[in-house]
Amino acid sequence: MKTLTLQVNGNGRQVTAEPDTPLLYVLRNDLNLKGPRFGCGLGQCGACTVIIDGKATRSCITPLSTVGGKAVTTLEGLGSTQRLHRIQKAFIDAQAAQCGYCINGMIMTAKAFLDQNPRPSEGDVRRALAGNLCRCGTHPRIVDAVMRAAQEA
């Protein structure tokens, strides 16, 4: 076990864990941040996505030991129901969730993408989200939500 300090959502947070622990479990179980979700543990589905130093990253395959000193942002770091981020608001406006389990990954991937591409086409959005899986078939609404968020920026 090792104790280290993480920069999560703008705060320094001390955690004690095995260094090979994927960041996902530390966020969920030690820091009570349940936005990022376990989907596959293989980096295939995107449900666990967080933003590390501006880049959308699969936290299920990111060992804790590689995160030290980097800025981690989770879904909670974007906003809350009381203070929604414009992307979160756009997902509500577009009613872009069914079971919602994948939505963390959709929003976090969209956030990192829009930060780099503030005026995307619909095709750009589809390509940016192509590595994120949704089983409910919410895709058209997710694309709609990201386009709304881009337009409101």
Binding site: K34, T81, C99, G100, C102, R135, G137, T138, H139
Partner: protein, 741 residues
């Protein structure tokens, strides 16, 4: 820890609500299920369901049906709030808790709005009537002079709130099945696209899924799966696992091997470190012979869902005769979040949190596992990732129960991806043979349908729990006996009026994989076969596919649905295939399908447009146009979301999904080996909802799924002249079909 058990439901309701309406769901569910559905009324336990109004005017609904991510929590709230004449915001729903809610059966079959919702409306109507009766005394006015708005009864210059009425007097009234319901023109909340109550929490991380829930003192468990589907455990070596940080214990019972650790990562590493020796087993049929194996399987029972005239005789004398065989693969539920549960098993009771879509059935199964009475087991429902049928949530629950019982602590089990893909129960392999005969005028004179499905009798047939079977030294899973794959014979009869029809269903003694229901079980596959074959007959008759269907349909409401869809799509009347576009690598086509779900409810018509690349075999659906008549629409946007999702999910199933296996076990254990469609495969979707406020509200989650495979196959035929009779329509299969032309 004692609290959740010490309180009885009656005590809970005493403290929680002043007005209580009790009723039974049994009769009407059986009715809605109809003749072809699994339940016989006697199999239903008549348990009261409850609706309470407390002293602050808040309304609590106790629903045995649960939110699975489809939006029913919002829709049921709309139905109750409207019927009761209270604001939408004061109504909340407790779902699936076995202590507090009625056993309405599993949340399946698109029956929540249609059956459970109607009952809740009736309960609300009974409650309103009781409130009105109380108010006439309080206000000294005749009930005809009173009106109710937003939970306030007013008349004769006075008013009184539900909250006040509730505070003054606790009231119990019997449920009246025949209570008068609100007329459609009085709806204020029903019929509106109210935003879903769960979405804000889901987009901010504030929503608590089953996978997020924690219990004080909880440990983490994982299960080591057998090396072959029916292998026996020979030995376990956990020396390496014991060295993992946080390791607590290895639990071995019969063929069940699990591990418990203080941390989730510790449990995962220990699971991977355990070395088990398993006996060899290689009893699965080769993948390329699965449909032949199905047809050769011993038949337990044969039923004929439809028998009219003399199909064999009419076939023999038909002017033109066609035959075709349709195959649909073994598929998995593919929930994005693997199944999860927490169990706290004590000597004489068990408290469990589960995302089971059928908590009351799961309660019964777990009680049996623990040799307890059902009332010693309480299951509290927490929403998980979408399940689309009976996935692994119940099995993860049983896993957690075994581990918690063994170590005497609360244990959380979340399945790994390979557990979900490899070990959730599967949608069984499907094959159907069709024969049809046309007369000289191009009319269908004879129709003969045969399919082979896993054997099932009776209603509440449990899907056996993996853990229970393993613990008792069983061979991992049941693939014989009375199996529940979800009334797959439904829609085996065509929705058309043919003079000579025979639909035959052989019920098989065994099936390769433990079966369960997966969204639109059987109805989707049967409709695939029927509607593809209808298209083949239309082409043989040289007829336009829409005209041909209308000519054989004796259902005005269905015909209206077809015409509405065809018009919205800009359908051009001509036979298939389309000879004009047949040049170049990429060709386009359109296909039509018609569904009358369960032969009893919800009409769906679909036009699908495709692009087929004849060089590489790639199929892309570019546009779906849907006509959808599910009667009264409670929440139009909610219905649209279900239709969109059903199209995309079934498109995925039909184009690319197929469980893969070797002789011993499933080998498609992740999203690379069992992919689902992503954003680039999503077509344009246009939906026309045919709202019928004066008609009963029917289900909307499943019926659309039944339309997709045949609409797609018929469009591919229109584009290329090739028939896709085996799903998924992979590039190789498309190229092979083209090569046969």
């Amino acid at each position: 820890m004692n609290a959740p058990f010490a309180v009885t439901r009656r005590q809970f309701l005493k403290t929680g609500g002043a007005l209580v309406v009790g009723f039974s769901f049994a009769g009407s569910i059986a009715e809605a299920m109809g003749q072809s559905m699994p339940f016989e009324p006697r199999d239903f336990k008549s348990v009261d369901a409850w609706l309470a109004i407390d002293g602050s005017g808040r309304v609590t609904v106790y629903s045995g049906h649960v939110e699975l991510g489809t939006g029913v929590e919002t829709a049921l709230t709309q139905m109750v709030a409207d019927e009761l004449d209270v604001p939408f915001s004061v109504v909340s729903i407790i779902q699936g808790d076995t202590l507090l809610t009625p056993d309405q059966g599993p949340t399946w079959g698109s029956l929540t709005i249609q059956v459970a919702g109607l009952q809740l409306r009736k309960a609300a109507a009974c409650a309103k009537r009781a409130m009105l009766a109380l108010a006439t005394k309080e206000l000294g006015a005749a009930s005809g002079d009173l009106e109710i708005q937003n939970g306030v009864v007013s008349g004769a210059g006075k008013h009184i709130t539900y909250a006040t009425l509730a505070k003054r007097r606790a009231l119990q009234v019997p449920f009246d099945e025949k209570v008068e319901l609100k007329k459609p023109d009085a709806f204020r909340i029903v019929g509106k696209s109210i935003a879903r109550v769960d979405i804000p929490g889901k987009v901010t991380g504030e929503f608590t899924y089953m996978q997020d829930f924690k219990v004080r003192g909880m440990l983490h468990g994982r299960v080591v799966r057998p090396a072959a589907m029916q292998a026996r455990l020979e030995s376990v070596d956990d020396a390496a696992a014991r060295k993992i940080s946080g390791f607590v214990r290895t639990v071995v019972k019969g063929n069940f091997v699990g591990v418990v650790a203080k941390t989730e990562w510790g449990a995962i590493k220990a699971m991977e470190a355990i070395r088990c020796k398993w006996s060899n087993w290689s009893g699965l049929p080769p993948m390329d012979q699965v449909y032949a194996t199905v047809k050769k399987t011993r038949i337990e029972q044969t039923i004929t869902p439809m028998k009219e005239g003399d199909a064999a005789g009419a076939l023999a004398t038909a002017a033109k005769r066609l035959t075709a065989t349709y195959e649909y693969p073994v598929q998995t539920h593919g929930s994005i979040g693997p199944s999860c549960s927490i169990a706290d098993v004590r000597r004489d009771r068990a408290l469990i949190w589960s995302a089971s879509q059928s908590t009351h059935w799961t309660q019964r199964q777990i009680a049996k596992m623990l040799s307890m009475k059902p009332e010693q087991v309480r299951i509290i429902y927490l929403e998980g990732a979408g399940c689309y049928g009976r996935n692994g949530h119940e099995d993860a629950t049983a896993d957690a129960v075994v581990l918690s019982q063994a170590i005497g602590r609360p244990v959380r089990v979340q399945w790994m991806r390979q557990d979900e893909h490899g070990w959730d129960p599967k949608s069984p392999p499907y094959v159907a043979d069709l024969e049809g005969g046309l007369d000289a005028g191009g009319n269908v004179r004879a129709w003969n349908f045969v399919t082979w499905l896993p054997y099932r009798i009776g209603g509440a047939v449990d899907v056996p729990m993996l853990a229970e079977d393993l613990v008792h030294g069983g061979a991992a899973i049941q693939t014989s006996g009375n199996m529940n794959a979800g009334t797959m014979e439904s829609d085996a009869k065509p929705p058309y009026a043919f003079p000579n029809v025979l639909s035959t269903v052989h019920k098989l003694a065994t099936t390769p994989f433990r079966p369960s229901w997966l969204r639109s079980p059987g109805r989707m596959q049967n409709t695939y076969a029927n509607e593809c074959f209808m298209d083949e007959l239309a082409a043989a008759a040289g007829a336009d596919p829409v005209d041909f269907r209308l000519k054989h349909l004796k259902d005005e409401r269905g015909a209206h649905c077809i015409a509405t869809c065809a018009k919205a799509a800009g359908w051009q009347t001509r036979p298939s295939p389309n000879k004009e576009t047949a040049t170049g690598d990429v060709v386009t086509g359109r296909g039509f399908t018609y569904v009358f779900y369960d032969n009893a409810r919800t009409y769906v018509s679909a036009v699908c447009e495709v692009e087929v690349n004849r060089r590489n075999g790639l199929v892309r659906a570019t546009r779906f146009v849907i006509g959808h008549d599910c009667g009264l629409v409670i929440n139009p946007d909610g219905v649209r979301a279900q239709i969109e999702g059903g199209i995309i999910q079934t498109l995925s199933r039909t184009l690319i999904e197929e469980v893969k296996w070797d002789a011993s076990r499933v080998t498609s254990l992740d999203w690379a080996s069992y992919p689902i469609v992503t954003f680039n495969a999503v077509p344009k979707i246009e939906i026309t909802l045919i709202d019928r406020p004066d008609q009963p509200a029917w289900g909307a989650g499943e019926p659309i799924c039944a339309a997709v495979p045949s609409a797609l196959a018929n469009a591919i035929f229109d584009a290329t002249g090739a028939r896709m009779r085996t799903a998924p329509y992979t590039p190789d299969r498309v190229k092979a079909a083209l090569a046969r032309l």
